[in-house]
Subunit: 201 residues, 2 copies
DNA sequence: TCATTAACCAAACAAGTATTTGTTTTTCTA
DNA sequence: TAGAAAAACAAATACTTGTTTGGTTAATGA
């Protein structure tokens, strides 16, 4: 569940107003968390991004940590949906993984603030909701675990290490990637290729 | 140069007293920056770690950022020395890389606070000294660039991407690594192996 | 021995922090 | 169109932050 739970009419889950600024708020928070970092972003920053006073944010979210949690939730939902849709048509395990990794890379590099937060803001930055954040991350990674489990690999290959290696490499692109040169898709394909086939001659 | 530059006698670079607590200070800062993060660590935290008042820290370092810079400098010096010593005896390029990666991994995983800071605290956390921090990082990575340049690889391999992939994977171990299971050395060897030789069957 | 000064303490400072409270405006609905 | 709830403001709260200032102690070298 996301957002706040007000007393709602029985049938509809939520009775919100048309002029609702929860989403703009989340967008602003995601943008700032992604670019400046969680701790470095103040409630003033977030509020002023959409012309709202810092105190007013607390009508929608009961704390800064809850705001981060909401961003995380929306991030996971989005990236999960996109990923599952992308691999739906594929059959070959290696091809499936490649498509998944390409999608993942594109999502975290194409200025998607939400995904950027999910990858870049580690759960330990918000101790009180650390477990929830970790659970959300795990929920996403479960998909990749499955994909790698189905991979035909040489004997003795540690699939868990393989996943951590691939994900570590991909997620760190966020640190050095700059638009205009190599594309996210190319990066992803290359990384998968360097693992699948030998690099040495 | 590290530390402060006071008026020193002509011959010696520094005329310090015996009871000098600069090093304990750096150790405390490194420890806290590594575990809690830069922004999350206060000058009070650092001071009280060695029984010193926060204001007193400013006798040795003129700001929190300068303190981080000093930690960075010591980190680079240490990890560089260790790495160069480790690869000195090796001849084969792949073997050389493997030894280098093993050393690097051991350094950042074996509770070495300094290296932990250098890898985990990104330069943009301290904007005023961002350039200096980046330069220090680059100075270290230059060694790895050279090692990878000498690697005999298949045609079409992008050596820069290869380095970013390997380093990204290795540095991200910091996030999930836990003592007691697989060793840093084993992780490093495995990662290099997964790149060198094919994973697919 | 004694002036020097490195090294620290004690105490405050000014600015910024997340958050709370009471009040007002806006918007929907009955 | 009145009334109620939603959504925001205005202003303060309680606290933490990095940093500064001026005084104190003790090691050092001339």
């Amino acid at each position: 569940m996301s957002g706040k739970s007000t007393s709602s009419s029985k049938t509809t889950t939520k009775a919100r107003r048309s002029h609702n600024r929860v989403q703009p708020l989340l967008d602003a928070a995601a943008k700032l968390f992604a670019t400046k970092g969680y701790k470095e972003t103040t409630m003033r920053d977030i509020g002023s991004e959409i012309g709202m006073l810092p105190g007013s944010v607390y009508y929608h979210f009961k704390s800064k940590q809850e705001l981060l949690l909401a961003v995380y939730e929306q991030a996971v939902t989005g990236i999960k949906t996109r990923l599952l849709a992308a691999i739906a048509d594929e059959q070959d395990p290696w091809r499936k993984l490649e498509v998944a990794v390409v999608t993942h890379t594109e999502t975290i590099l194409d200025q998607n603030d939400y995904a950027h937060v999910m990858i870049g803001v580690l759960p330990d930055k918000a101790p009180e909701i650390q477990q929830e954040l970790t659970a959300l991350r795990d929920g996403y990674e479960a998909i990749l675990i499955e994909l790698i489990d189905e991979l035909p690999v040489r004997k003795g290959i540690d699939r868990k290490l393989l996943r951590l290696m691939l994900l570590g490499a991909i997620n760190s692109t966020q640190i050095w990637y700059q638009e205009g040169t190599i594309s996210p898709e190319e990066i992803a394909r290359t990384f998968v290729g360097y693992i699948k086939d030998p690099v040495a001659k």
